[in-house]
């Protein structure tokens, strides 16, 4: 999972930046809210959760500081999960914090969307580093989801293939000469006679024939 990142944008609004770091057995979830008015000092709130060591928190703070150069950070929520999925109480705690943070930072509707997507985000571990990864929608689109224009192109190609290519496939194929058809029907395809099988085994090893 490490090294894979995905940036998403919602068509209507940008909710904030979400960075997720996946390590082998660790999982950092760092959600930064955006939309802060310039000139306001960001609130230095770092909720602490059991299991976060000082060094890790510092790394995350450093990551946050990098983002704060743009002065768009307001509050940072950091959680760490070990190995397996978090307990339900842990999830509730995270959801609660996220809700409060995001409701203050953006619209209530936006906050609800983020919170509702939090559980799925935990399961679907994207991204990678504390560098800026802009996420506008909490639910990343699956890789198999096509854009409208991609779907349209595929349909146009399919229609063209059926209507314009299909009727002439055979004639185009046959117009390209007939030698290989004779080859297919020839001795080389009737048995192992001309393959590299020695005479003692019933074949006729003949390199020239090959």
């Amino acid at each position: 999972m490490a090294g894979h990142s995905q940036a998403l944008q919602a068509p209507d609004q940008r909710l904030g930046r979400v960075d997720i770091v996946i390590l082998a057995e660790k999982f950092f979830f760092c959600c930064e809210t955006s939309g802060v008015k310039r000139g306001k000092t960001p609130a230095q709130t770092y909720p602490t959760y059991p299991g976060i060591r000082a060094g890790q928190a510092k790394r995350i703070q450093n990551g946050r500081k990098k983002c704060s150069r743009k002065r768009t950070c307001r509050q940072v929520l950091v959680s760490r999960l070990k190995g397996q999925s978090p307990s339900s109480s842990y999830k509730e705690k995270i959801a609660s914090c996220m809700s409060k943070l995001l409701q203050r930072a953006t619209s209530a509707r936006a906050a609800r969307r983020v919170v509702s997507g939090a559980a799925r985000l935990r399961a679907q571990c994207y991204s990678t580093s504390l560098a800026d990864v802009e996420l506008a929608a909490p639910q990343p689109a699956p890789l198999c989801a096509l854009l409208e224009e991609e779907q349209a192109m595929a349909e146009a190609a399919s229609r063209f293939a059926r209507e314009r290519v299909g009727p002439v496939v055979q004639s185009m194929d046959e117009a390209c000469g007939g030698r290989s058809r004779r080859v297919i029907g020839g001795p080389a395809f009737r048995g192992p006679r001309f393959l590299c099988i020695g005479g003692q085994d019933g074949g006729r090893r003949d390199r020239r024939a090959l």
């Binding site: 190609a157 194929d173 000469g177």
Partner: protein, 177 residues
């Protein structure tokens, strides 16, 4: 390959999928190109191969690495009526592309290419060839350069048709000096 099929592909915008709209293309994604290739391959892999080479190799090469002048000259044509062909393989360098022998020598404002290319897809119908040749042999493979060669370039000859067992409608010929 029937000319009607090729014309139809251009008319339907299936040959300039990733080319920017300012150059007459669709400005769509690589995924769109893959989907088009997939849909065509369901009916005729030969057509699919031709579209694949044109969109994902030729158009991308020119869009990404050609000079702005070349892009202005060729991208509108590649999106509208000119099929491209990618000329890399030689008798002694198929998989080992760095071993190619085709050489390019500076001659005033031009380059003279000398060498022979083999198994060149789309070569029968192509209007432009992207030819790989070494313009600086002393640099080894780092001297390999891509040249945009119009079909009407002096000295360029397309060899006779080669018979194949599959994708037979997809032309694959030699390029001769």
């Amino acid at each position: 390959m029937e000319a009607d099929v090729i014309d139809g592909l251009f008319e339907h915008g299936l040959m300039g999928i990733e080319i920017a709209e300012e150059h007459g293309g669709c400005g769509a994604t690589f995924t769109a190109a893959c989907l088009v290739v997939e849909e065509l391959a369901k009916v005729d892999p030969a057509v699919s191969v031709m579209v694949d080479i044109h969109n994902t190799i030729i158009n991308n090469c020119v869009s990404r690495w050609a000079s702005p002048e070349l892009q202005r000259e060729w991208l509108p044509r590649l999106a509208s009526d000119t099929l491209g062909s990618f000329c890399l393989s030689e008798a002694g360098s198929g998989s080992d592309a760095f071993a190619l022998r085709c050489a390019a020598r500076r001659d005033g404002d031009d380059y003279l290419l000398s060498g022979e290319k083999l198994w060149i897809s789309n070569s029968a119908e192509a209007g432009v060839f992207l030819v790989m040749a070494n313009a600086a042999p002393e640099k080894g493979h780092r001297g390999i350069t891509c040249f945009v060669v119009p079909r009407e370039a002096a000295g360029l000859r397309v060899g006779p048709k080669e018979d194949k067992l599959g994708t037979r409608a997809s032309s694959r010929r030699r390029l001769l000096p």
